[in-house]
Amino acid sequence: MKSRPNLLITCVALMAAAITPVLGDTPKSVAAPSDLERGKAIAFNRNKGNCLACHAIDGGELPGNSGPPLLQMALRFPDRAVLRAQIWDATVRNPNTVMPPYGKHKILNNDELDLVVDYLLSL
């Protein structure tokens, strides 16, 4: 019984070690180009992400200005999980934000959310 927590720690440590060099080589996004296109389509779709309503994005026309421009995202969010959590429910970090809770309110499903996160990290 005593060895179990140690085994878990070993698992996590080994997996982290395995992933780190891969991330180190590609600081932006590891998603395939076709997935990035799909993520972009969801982000730009007015009935899905509709990110342009509030955020400027390179290549997006007539963006709103209620949120910060989405650029240098990999630099601003070195931890992918933080960005994903922000899109899932931004009110956790800032109760006053008007950003819709895309995950919590099921505006995007898990797959769509991941595609959008990958796309944003490529910006």
């Binding site: 400027a56 290549g59 650029l71 601003r76 006053n96 008007v98 819709p100």
Partner: protein, 297 residues
């Protein structure tokens, strides 16, 4: 101007500076918009304190723009769009509705006429009000149907064309009256007022927006290319001719559309919810002139 494509090929040190700029932007917009009062106040503010607070908010947010200017909605704060809008007023598309409304107004209803209830029709400034006997908010539309009932005529459908044309005529002949809703004082009136205030400030729909999210907190910002207008000008110009509708429509139709746009099921026209909302919104707009019907996108 700050363009994104120009930033895409920047070297790393400059990128870091860009990141810092973005971070500070986030820090600024994340700061609480509404500061907590410094001394403990009552749980609920009085209507007059609300009105003062909202006016102060817009004065801070739009320096140099008098609160009364918001009667023109987004055109008060978007000069370029305002110029195009003024050109539309040369041949106002709501004129037909006003003419038809005048004919309806002068058509007898049973043994009486609308004039028996509304005189020359310049009465919009008297609505909405809280009727203590009925213990509910009475709007112009409600009063029109009451008038018909008084003379034994069937009430009009609140979604129909007839009532919106009648109210377009009444709005037109009531232009320049100053909104002056009596301060809610009885318990029942305060309940109705607070119900409206609560509705306005509650996040709803799948997109999780309160009315105030856009029209108080973000007023003046752009949603896509559209500037978000201030709450205090919202009731002055109804019924409104919307280019999107290609017709005149009521304030409650606009409420319903706003609710739907954030993914919330709308309420019925003239429901207690929307009448209380109209009561609250009109009270905080006290002092602004009526200027309906008007044109909006």
């Amino acid at each position: 101007m700050f363009t994104l494509s120009a930033l895409s090929n920047l070297s790393r040190p400059v990128s870091i500076i860009g990141g810092i700029i973005v971070f500070s932007y986030v820090a600024i917009i994340s700061a609480p918009v509404f500061a907590e009062p410094t001394t403990p106040g009552p749980i609920v503010a009085s209507p007059s304190a609300d009105r003062q607070a909202i006016r102060a908010h817009y004065e801070r947010r739009f320096p140099g723009i008098p609160v009364e200017a918001h009667k023109d909605g987004a055109y008060a704060i978007d000069k370029k769009a305002g110029e195009q809008w003024l050109e539309l007023e040369d041949f106002p598309p709501y004129e037909i509705a006003v003419d038809e409304g005048e004919d309806l107004f002068n058509t007898p209803i049973g043994d009486g006429t609308y004039s028996d209830c509304f005189g020359d029709g310049a009465v919009k400034g008297q609505y909405p009000y809280f009727d203590e006997d009925r213990s509910e908010v009475v709007t112009l539309e409600l009063a029109i149907n009451d008038c018909r009932s008084k003379f034994g005529q069937p009430t009009l459908d609140y979604k129909g064309a007839e009532i919106v044309r009648l109210s377009a005529y009444i709005a037109f002949v009531s232009r320049d009256q100053i909104i002056n809703v009596a301060e809610p004082s009885s318990q029942a009136a305060l309940l109705a007022y607070n119900d409206g205030k609560r509705f306005y400030s509650s996040r709803r729909g799948q997109l999780n927006f309160a009315c105030s999210s856009c029209h108080v907190q973000l007023a003046g910002n752009r949603l896509r290319a559209e500037k978000l207008s201030a709450s205090v000008g919202h009731v002055t110009h109804f019924p409104v001719y919307r280019l999107k509708w290609q017709d005149v429509g009521s304030l409650h139709r606009r409420f319903a559309r706003c609710n739907q746009q954030v993914g919330a099921e709308p309420f019925a026209r003239q429901s207690p919810e929307y009448r209380n909302l109209e009561y609250f919104l009109t009270y905080i707009s006290n002092g602004l002139p009526l200027n309906g019907p008007a044109i909006r996108k």
